[in-house]
Amino acid sequence: MSKYSHVVNVAVLVGLAFLGFQVFQAIFQPDSFGQYGRYRGDHLVEASSLSVLHRGDDYCLDCHDAEWDMADAKHATVPCENCHFLPGPHAIPVDKANSVDKAKAAGGKYVKIEIMPIDRTAQPCLNCHTFLPSRPVKFPQVKDGAKHIKDGWKKAMGEVKINSPCSRCHNSHFPKAYAKGVV
């Protein structure tokens, strides 16, 4: 019995635990762990490579600036994707399409490959313009849709049904420009 056997025992145990941990780590720790910090470095790349669905107004305006030159319109700040949303692209350059003559090209440069949905109901308008006491006071709001339409109708020459959508009188893009016949 050596004088130091107790020390040796402990040292062996600690050494074994250390080795065991190294083996455990080698098997279970992902390769990129610790690349940037105490996490899996590859996840940064994975998280940044998901696909982008909302493209923003600049993307739309690349092709549509004629319809939407609205620097002075009241809806200038309202992004297109509130009323038109499509997860994928809806038009591609003409030279990339295989059946050019069948497709209708806008300005001859692009062909539509998928229809961009247009929400013509009152719902998008009401989401933003229904009167709510929590909304900023200065924001234009409609207290009573039916009454608003009736009043608008009084000003209008044409016939407007009470349940007609807002776009019957308002141009969705230029809401101050009312439809023909409406003052």
Partner: protein, 262 residues
Amino acid sequence: MKRRKAAKRLESRREFIKIAANGMAGMLIVTLMPKSSWAQRIHQIEEMKHVPDWMDHYYAYVVDTTKCIGCGACVRACKRENNTPDGYFRTWVERYQITDTGHVYIDSPNGGHESFPPKDVEGKALKGFFVPKLCNHCRNTPCTQVCPVNASYETPQGVVLVDKQTCIGCGYCVQACPYDTRYIDPRTHTADKCTWCYHRVTKGLAPACVTVCPTKARIFGDLKVKNSQVREILDSQRVMVLKPELNTEPYCFYIGLDRAVR
């Protein structure tokens, strides 16, 4: 001989007390020292250098509650962009109504996904406002600290992420978050939260909620860029964070917060 020894002990005790007193004074000074100011923090951020170029940003988010109209566009956009399960939200909008009876009505029907139906309140509504909420991307993150498997972490750009591959779904982080921004995704059984649309911001785009906001109530930007909008706001306007008393150091700032906001 004996006396000398006693004297030495006395001396050493005096020494000990001296050292202890000095140490205590030092600790007191450290605790009383003012925390680093925002200007110092910004300076530190500017000095930081992250190696791959696409990482060399430091993001911040500003919510201007005075502009929010509660239309829910951000909630819908976030759901589409990140495909979050029904009934779980990475961002949501809360409606506050404060009446003359002293009541504070707070609601968020379906997170504000379908905007807000008019709500009857007792008494006359004195003031009301909307408060959009999202992950605050704190620097003293309570949520990442409790993660047992390092699945949740802070990126060098100041975004807090969850690695779904590593996450074991224990839910500690969901409980630790004081802002209730985390949930366990019922499809994958892992923790999920707002990423500031990491896949968008690393491509130079704004998060989806910022992109669709019609009143510019949500603002996102890079603190390392001197003339970015967030820098301008943080430098020149009165901003607040949610639950400052918790000292979580959020990087999501609010303009026009009311004391009723929780």
